[in-house]
């Protein structure tokens, strides 16, 4: 009996924290999402409107549909590129030479940088008046005029994707280096004795064995990409126009610029449902690998 008090007692502080900061807000926003509440007009929740916020979002709101499309356009390349570049860098930097070790250490610093600061510094480097990227591009593609990258809808999205790839690559690279190190060395040695080239070894022996790790990485990066927000706020502010207005950013402006709390909550929940499905798949993966 005493043990029962102890085990729940030990859990109590963390549970209380999660109840206040996670479970309560989740339930509360679900309640807001079925009410009409424009906070600028009324300090308390308005009338119950059923699912009409959701219906409006999915059927009549071109801004939301645009943001869903923008999120997709951002997520797919950012996931694919991050995983591909991280894998390439993992192979490049997996060695234990001093240069490799130092380079790995160097790459961790930008990953541990505040996403807001990352957004700001890339905004500066991409700005036309400073234009370090601008200048370099002109050397590679002669005849390219001054390209105000962040004021062009397509280029702004490309920049947002590349900065995100830049941000997350070190993390997934280290994941892959860990996975590479745990591969059985014998098959690699045998393949080398047989005279297989390093390209063939990589694609036919290494890559298939990395499949489970790659699957988890793709899943995780998809989740991270779907909720990416800091760089949108600091780099592009959703612009130009609504070209980089992702769903999280639209929720943010709807809730805290227009104070349409009910509508914003419904939008946030639509996004959350997608994430919950992904999280469920991810949990299954983890549980499956443990047993």
């Amino acid at each position: 009996m005493k043990e029962r008090y102890l085990k729940y007692g030990l859990l109590a502080p963390a549970l209380a924290i999660c109840a206040v900061t996670l479970f309560y807000p989740l339930m509360q926003s679900l309640i807001y999402s079925v009410h009409d509440w424009r906070m600028s007009r009324s300090p308390v929740v308005g009338a119950f409107v059923g699912l009409s916020n959701y219906a409006d979002l999915l059927l009549h709101d071109p801004d939301f549909l645009n943001s869903a499309w923008v999120t997709l356009v951002f997520t797919v390349p950012s996931v694919a590129l991050t995983i591909a570049v991280a894998l390439a860098l993992a192979v490049l930097l997996a060695g234990s030479g001093r240069l490799e070790v130092n380079a790995r250490m160097l790459l961790v610093i930008p990953f541990a940088m505040s996403p807001a600061l990352i957004g700001i510094s890339w905004r500066f480097m991409l700005s036309p008046e400073f234009g370090v990227v601008d200048t370099m591009l002109k050397h590679i593609v002669p005849g390219l005029g001054k390209a105000p990258i962040l004021s062009d809808p397509t280029l702004a999205m490309v920049a947002l994707i590349l900065v995100d790839v830049w941000h997350w690559t070190p993390y997934f690279m280290l994941t892959f280096i860990g996975a590479l190190a745990s591969l059985p060395q014998e098959t690699l040695d045998a393949a080398q004795v047989d005279g297989a080239g390093s390209m063939r070894i990589f694609f036919e022996i290494v890559l298939p064995q990395l499949r489970p790790v790659l699957a988890i990485a793709v899943l995780l990066k998809t989740i991270f990409s779907l909720k990416m927000l800091d760089q949108v706020v600091t780099m592009t502010a959703g612009g130009p126009g609504a070209a980089t207005e992702t769903v999280p950013y639209l929720v943010y402006t709807t809730a805290f610029r227009y104070y349409d709390i009910g509508y914003a909550s419904a939008m946030a929940w639509l996004l959350a449902v997608v994430m919950m499905v992904l999280a469920l798949v991810y949990s299954r993966f983890l549980l499956g690998r443990k047993t």
Partner: protein, 283 residues
């Protein structure tokens, strides 16, 4: 290129022997990933006239840093907010996470292994969904723009992850450790404190580094919940975007303070932050 000679002498597998193109590629990668860090540090010390110049050769000056401390940017006050919020978050989060991790690791709960996973899964939710109701609560309690509100919100993403990380370390420890101590007459709590916690200290340290990095860098919650009094450094970056355009020199000075601790503890960040993240998320 003196580092090139280090590899073959160790007798590494031929796969990792490094030809020249590989050395060049590694340098290129290092430059691409480190450029913004160099930019921030360099710009913070550049004279105002040189901020927009590509040159790396300049006379370093403290002019921008001093300007950043003056109104309206007040980096000193923002820095103090960042320090207090991060410290407060860690002081609450680490003990709570450690005991919860111990409970998850040693006791059976109805539902089995699902609960720590549920905690972890909450971290996949978009922050916007959490912040809307919390904004309302803090507004009603008159706690908007306070450091206390930020600490509470930071706990929402630090406690679940730190619990998950520390649990991994407890799982690796044999349970007979504290049982042996109990036979010697110590109470269970004593046994945990005296025997288990010291052994799990590397795990707790890893969680502490992780929590420090994430809390120090946190931007979005602070953006929504603060206006003036409790503004932290990452949010202060936005205040340098003035009507007259972006004050890049000020932003760089603020950035310097944001990355300075990361650079100082980069060894530990490398060892604990990423390893903790990697093992927590993928294994």
């Amino acid at each position: 290129m003196m580092t090139r000679t280090a590899v073959p002498s160790r007798g590494e597998a031929a796969l990792w022997r490094r030809p020249r193109w590989r050395t060049i590629l590694i340098w290129l990668v290092a430059i691409i990933w480190f450029a913004p860090v160099v930019w921030i540090v360099a710009t913070a010390f550049k004279p105002r006239a040189d901020v927009f110049a590509l040159t790396l050769l300049f006379k370093p000056t403290l002019h921008s840093l001093i300007a950043a401390f003056a109104p309206p940017f007040l980096v000193g006050a923002r820095l103090w907010n960042s320090i207090l919020v991060t410290a407060g978050t860690l002081v609450i989060a680490l003990p709570a996470s450690t005991v919860a991790a111990y409970a998850f690791s040693r006791f059976r709960f109805p539902g089995g292994q699902i609960w720590p996973l549920v905690l972890l899964a909450t971290q996949f939710l978009p922050p916007v969904i959490i912040v809307i109701p919390l904004f309302v609560v803090f507004k009603n309690l008159d706690l908007l723009d306070t450091r206390f509100a930020l600490m509470i919100v930071n706990l929402s993403f630090i406690v679940p992850y730190a619990t998950w990380m520390i649990k991994g370390f407890f799982d690796a420890l044999p349970p007979d450790m504290e049982e042996a101590a109990q036979i010697d007459g110590a109470s269970r709590l004593r046994a945990i404190w005296d025997v288990v916690v010291p052994v799990a200290l590397p795990g707790i340290a890893a969680a502490a580094i992780f929590s420090f990095v994430v809390s120090w860098n946190e931007f979005f919650y602070a953006l929504v919940l603060t206006r003036d009094h409790a503004v932290t450094l990452p949010v202060a970056l936005m205040s340098a975007r003035t009507e007259q355009g972006d004050a890049w020199d000020i932003m760089a000075s603020m950035g310097l303070f944001i990355i300075a601790p990361m650079l100082l503890i980069s060894r530990f960040v490398q060892r604990y932050f990423v390893k903790g993240l990697v093992s927590g998320a993928v294994r």
